[in-house]
Each structure stands twice: as C-alpha cells, then as structure tokens.
C-alpha cells in the first residue's frame, strides 16, 4: 500500500473501492445501453422511414420499378426463398456429415488436423472472398452463370463452417453412456450414430442450421460479386407444375435478385424516395433474421434447461 492510502481509515478505503465498483458496473451497463440503443435505433429508424411502403400491399406483390412508389420486393422475396432452398439442401447434409465424421470417425492423424485447421480458417474467410471463388469457378469455369444455383451454392459454402462447428458441439455433448448402451444392444458404429447419436444431437444441430441460414439470408457481398442483376422484373419458373413430373428444375438456372441486393440497390440511389423502399426492405430483412436467431437462441436455452 502506498503512503496516501495509509492516511485513510479502512472505511474510507472500502467506500472508495465500492465507488469504483459502481462506476465500473455503470460503465458496463452504459456500453450495453449504447449497443441496445443501436439495435433498437436501427429498427425504429427503418420502421418509421419505411412505414408508408410497409403498410402498402403493393410493396409485397410488385416488381422493382423506376417509380419508387410502385416498386416492390416480390422478385427479391421469391429469389431469397429459392436461393435459401438450394443453400439448405446443399449445406445441411454436407455440414452435418462433415461434423459427424470429425467428431465420431476421424482418426487422429495429420489429415484430420488439416481438416480441422481448414474448417476454423474457413470460418474466418471474408464472405466476399467466397464471392470471388464463385465468380471464378462457378460462373466462368463451370459455366453455371449468374443463377439461383450459383448463389445457393456459394452461400452454402459460406455457412458450411457454421453447420460443421455446431454439429460437432452438439455431438460432443451427447453422453458416452448413450453410445455404450447402443453398442450393448448390439449396434455397430453406423447404427449407433444414425439411430442414437444423431437424433439426440438434432436440436443442437438445428440451432446451427438456423443461425447459418439467417446469416445466408442477410449476406449480400458474395451474391453481388457473382454479378447478380439488380433489376429483375419477372419470376423464375415455378418449381412445381401442374403436369407430370410436377417438379422442374428450370428455376435453378434462372437469373434472380435477393432481398439484401434489392436493399443495396435502392440505398445506392440518390433519390430519397428509393431510400423509403430500402428502409422497408430492411425491416422485412431484419424481422426475418432476428426471428430466426431468436428461434435458435430459444431452442438452445430450452435444450440447456432440459440437460439440468
């Protein structure tokens, strides 16, 4: 203790320290409040400036247009849904399989080390680099063009690490006893994994899938990089048709736009009327991603309560 403190009584020291504690706690709360003010501020700002468009039903049923008051997000919403369909179909099986392999099957050797380092590094690669991958490889080398398929694939690769990591965590959390019980009943490895481990890990995997898809919905950079058009005044061919075989895959090779690109397109225009459309799109986009993230958090919290 230094000389200045020696002159004070114990009570003074304690109360001075308590004051510092209060200051520190209020600083922490202040940072939290700034962060919440930001989240709420963004949402309220979007809501108030986008309100006139949000309440108009034309906004949801119209195509983009040169006239801001007639422009809508129909093609963007359809595009987002179809792109997400491709992303989910590709990323979920691939990510879950890779996660299962790393956690249950992988031998401890250099190849496994490389795969693990690779996955954690992929999680840190900026999304726009994935866009460059898609531009060079999918659009030009594989000649898939600027289509829904390309966008779905690139977003699937982007969220692959998220799904792998959450699958691994979920599988790691399954008690050994469950596996041993399965082996005790005569199951072999694949049966134990498929019939016992995977179903038990399902809620944890689901959380990762939802968080990953929420991220993919909001991603604009990789989709812009592949050169996706921003003015799309038509819908891709419907995946379902009236005559046999009832489904077709023409929509995969159709040009498209998605919600974040539509927002970017409108916010980049000088006219303030388009900014209203951008704000309204932002509200829809934020509502979608926040709802998905909230759902994931809810599943995880319920899961944790279940474990106790």
């Amino acid at each position: 203790m230094n000389a200045a403190n020696n002159c004070k009584t114990l009570e003074q020291i304690v109360s001075a320290n308590k004051r510092i504690d209060v200051v520190m706690a209020s600083l922490g709360i202040l940072v939290l409040m700034v962060a919440s003010a930001m989240l709420i501020g963004v949402f309220v700002d979007l809501l108030t400036s986008g309100w006139p468009r949000l309440i108009s039903s034309e906004f949801y049923t119209n195509f983009p247009s040169r006239h801001p008051e007639k422009a809508g997000i129909l093609s963007a919403m359809t595009g987002t849904s179809l792109v997400m369909l491709v992303t989910a179909v590709v990323a979920i099986p691939l990510g879950v399989a890779a996660g299962l392999y790393l956690e249950e099957y992988a031998p401890r050797n250099w190849l496994t080390d490389i795969i693990e380092i690779n996955v954690s590094n992929l999680a840190g690669v900026p999304s726009i680099i994935y866009g460059l991958l898609a531009l060079g490889l999918f659009v030009h080398t594989f000649a898939l063009g600027e289509t829904i398929l390309t966008a779905g694939l690139v977003l699937a690769l982007l969220i692959l690490p998220v799904i792998i990591v959450s699958t691994r965590e979920a599988v790691r959390g399954i008690p050994r006893d469950l596996r041993e019980a399965a082996y005790g009943l005569g199951a072999d490895k694949w049966q134990a994994v498929r019939m016992y481990v995977l179903p038990a890990a399902r809620p944890g995997i689901l959380t990762g899938v939802i968080v990953g898809l929420a991220r993919a919905i909001g991603e604009a950079a990789p989709v812009i990089t592949i050169g996706a058009l921003t003015f799309i005044a038509f819908l891709p061919p419907s995946p379902i048709q009236a005559e046999a075989p009832f489904i077709n895959f023409e929509w995969l090779s159709s040009p498209f736009t998605v919600m974040p690109i539509q927002l970017f397109n409108w916010v980049s225009r000088p006219q303030a009327e388009f900014h209203i459309n951008a704000a309204a799109t932002g509200v829809v986009l934020m509502a979608m991603t926040l709802a998905m993230n909230a759902l994931a958090i809810y599943i995880r919290l319920r899961l944790r309560r279940h474990d106790r």
């Binding site: 504690d21 520190m24 600083l27 922490g28 940072v31 962060a35 930001m38 989240l39 700002d45 400036s49 990510g95 399989a97 890779a98 392999y101 992988a106 490389i114 795969i115 954690s120 590094n121 840190g124 690669v125 900026p126 726009i128 460059l132 991958l133 531009l135 060079g136 490889l137 030009h140 469950l178 005569g186 199951a187 072999d188 490895k189 694949w190 049966q191 994994v193 019939m195 179903p199 038990a200 929420a214 919905i217 909001g218 991603e219 604009a220 950079a221 812009i224 050169g227 970017f264 916010v267 900014h275 704000a279 932002g282 986009l285 934020m286 991603t289 926040l290 998905m292 993230n293 958090i297």
Partner: protein, 317 residues
C-alpha cells in the same frame, strides 16, 4: 430423450435388415463402411473449398501480375484501373481498409473490454444469461442494414456538428462497424476472462485488492492472450467487412488516412467492379482477384495469429 429404435427388424422388405442373420451382418458391415467413406468425403469437401479459393485467386491474378509488376502494385499510390493510363497501387485501397478497421477497433477495444470486464467480473449470472443472447441477436443483423444506418442516419448526425464531413466518409462506417464487431470481441474476451482460475482472483482478494484492482491487475493480465486474440479476430472481420463500407464509404480510390473523406476499401472496390459488367479476362476483371489475394492474405494472417493466441491461452489454464 431418444426413442429406442429396433436394431434388427423382421420385415423381409427391409433392404438392410431382411434375410438371414449372416446376410444381415454382411450388409450391415457394408453399410457401416460405406457410411464412414461418405462422411469422410463430406469432410474432405470442406478442404476443397479452401483449395478452390486459393486456386481461383492465384490463377486469375497470375495473368494480372504478368502485366503489372509486383513492385508497382505495392508501391504505386494511385488506383485507376479504368483509365487509359491505368495505375494499380493497391496501397490506395489498403490505406482506406486499415483506416476504417482502425476506427472500428478504436470503438470496439475500449467498449468490448469494458463490457467483458463488466460481464465476467461484475454482472450476476442472471444478467449474463440475458445479455449474451442479446449480443447474439446484435450479431445477426444483416450488414446491408448497418450500411443503410451508417449512410442515412449516422453520417447526417455527425455532419450536424462536423460540417466538413463529406457525404461518403470513413468515420461513420468505421464507428458503425465498431459496434458491429463489439458483440464478437466482447464475448470472446469474456470467455477468456471467465476461464482465468478463481484461485488467482482469491489470491488478489487475500492481498486486500479491491474488485476493480483484481479485474485490472489480475484477471486482465492473466487473460491477455485470449483478449488479444479477440481483438485480432475482430480486426480480421472489420477488414473483410463489405457492405457497410460499400454503401457508406464511397467508391473513390483515395490514398490517405483521413476519416473525414470517403475512400474505396478493398472490399468496396470488388463490389463496385462486380456491379458493372466486367468483360471476362480483362485487366480490370483480373485486378479484382489480385486485390482479393491481398484481402485473403491479410485476414489469413490475422486469423492465424488470433487462433494461435487463443489456443495457447487455452493450454495455459
């Protein structure tokens, strides 16, 4: 928890379980091996993504570097790819990238550290359990929305007391990005601080340290490599972040570090080029991949250092 599924079912139609016991066991062994291979293939596919990224970046920019020397690329201070007399000085884009990321860190380091200290040393578990999901929500906001916010709300707000601020500037996106990476940096450094053993704190208290002194002189130094990792990984995110700068920082390649002016970052340049219809194989098209390599290397460096520090920190405790 899990429904008990029968391991051997007695339906002849079942493709796996039908037939005699010997047949069943043979088929089961086959499926088992097959499943192992298929899962291994999926894991290897993730390596292919990295291979693909490196291959595309190198093969496309190789053509670029045949026309522009590496020396010019790194030392020129002008970036004018579309001009007759084209200049390709990547430092122009790097300077803007670092300026925006620097502003973001200037916000995220003090705020993130303060929040992490509060959550790990002061807040009760109830507060922590509420705040962490909230921070995750904040992380889930799409970055285009943050870009909208930076351009149409933060910039006009700053202009009201900084009249010399241009409509496109690096300050507003930097500040917004700082709050954007705050949840990540705060939660990673909070994890690091919480894994400091209780014994160290108790030793501090036994010496008569106040809670504040324990936090600042015991916990923070003990968790320093974990906290550093948090900010390096945050920096990597700020450098690679695209939409906020593409919307709010403008697309004018300026060499300099003045946050009041707008300037194109690496990511904003890629977006700008991709928006226009680039002829495949032109030098402007190839330049996108050349700056892509620079971006990839910068973030790779930050990520590797960050992962190394984080792993070393985990081994310590």
């Amino acid at each position: 928890m899990t429904d008990i599924a029968p391991l051997v079912s007695h339906g002849a139609a079942d493709p796996v379980f039908g037939g005699t016991t010997a047949q069943f066991l043979r088929r089961r062994a086959l499926w088992n091996r097959l499943a192992g291979y298929v899962l291994a293939l999926a894991a290897l596919a993730s390596v292919l993504v990295t291979v693909g990224i490196v291959y595309v970046l190198i093969s496309e920019s190789a053509a670029f570097f045949r026309q522009v020397s590496l020396f010019d690329f790194l030392t020129d201070t002008e970036w004018t790819p579309m001009f007759e007399n084209a200049h390709f000085g990547v430092m122009t884009l790097v300077s803007a990238t670092l300026t925006v990321a620097g502003i973001a860190l200037a916000v995220a380091i003090p705020a993130g550290l303060g929040l992490a200290i509060y959550l790990s040393e002061y807040a009760g578990s109830g507060v922590r359990e509420t705040v962490k999901p909230f921070l995750e929500l904040l992380e889930g906001v799409p970055t285009v929305v943050y870009g909208f916010f930076a351009l149409l709300l933060v910039t006009p707000m700053l202009q009201s007391f900084m009249p010399e601020l241009s409509g496109f500037n690096m300050l507003a996106p930097g500040l917004v990005m700082g709050i954007m990476i705050l949840p990540y940096t705060a939660s990673v450094s909070e994890d690091a601080m919480r894994s400091v053993p209780m014994g160290l704190r108790e030793a501090g208290y036994a010496l008569g340290y106040s809670r504040f002194r324990v936090a600042l002189q015991v916990v923070v130094p003990a968790a320093l490599s974990g906290i550093t990792a948090a900010f390096i990984l945050g920096m990597s995110r700020a450098v690679g972040e695209t939409m906020v700068v593409a919307i709010a920082a403008g697309q004018n390649p300026n060499y300099g570090f003045n946050p009041m002016e707008g300037a194109a970052t690496i990511t904003a340049y890629i977006v700008q080029m991709a928006m226009g219809d680039l002829p495949h194989g032109s030098i402007a098209y190839q330049s996108v991949f050349a700056v892509g390599i620079v971006l990839f290397l910068i973030t790779l460096l930050f990520n590797l250092v960050g992962f190394y520090l984080r792993r070393r920190f985990r081994e310590e405790y």
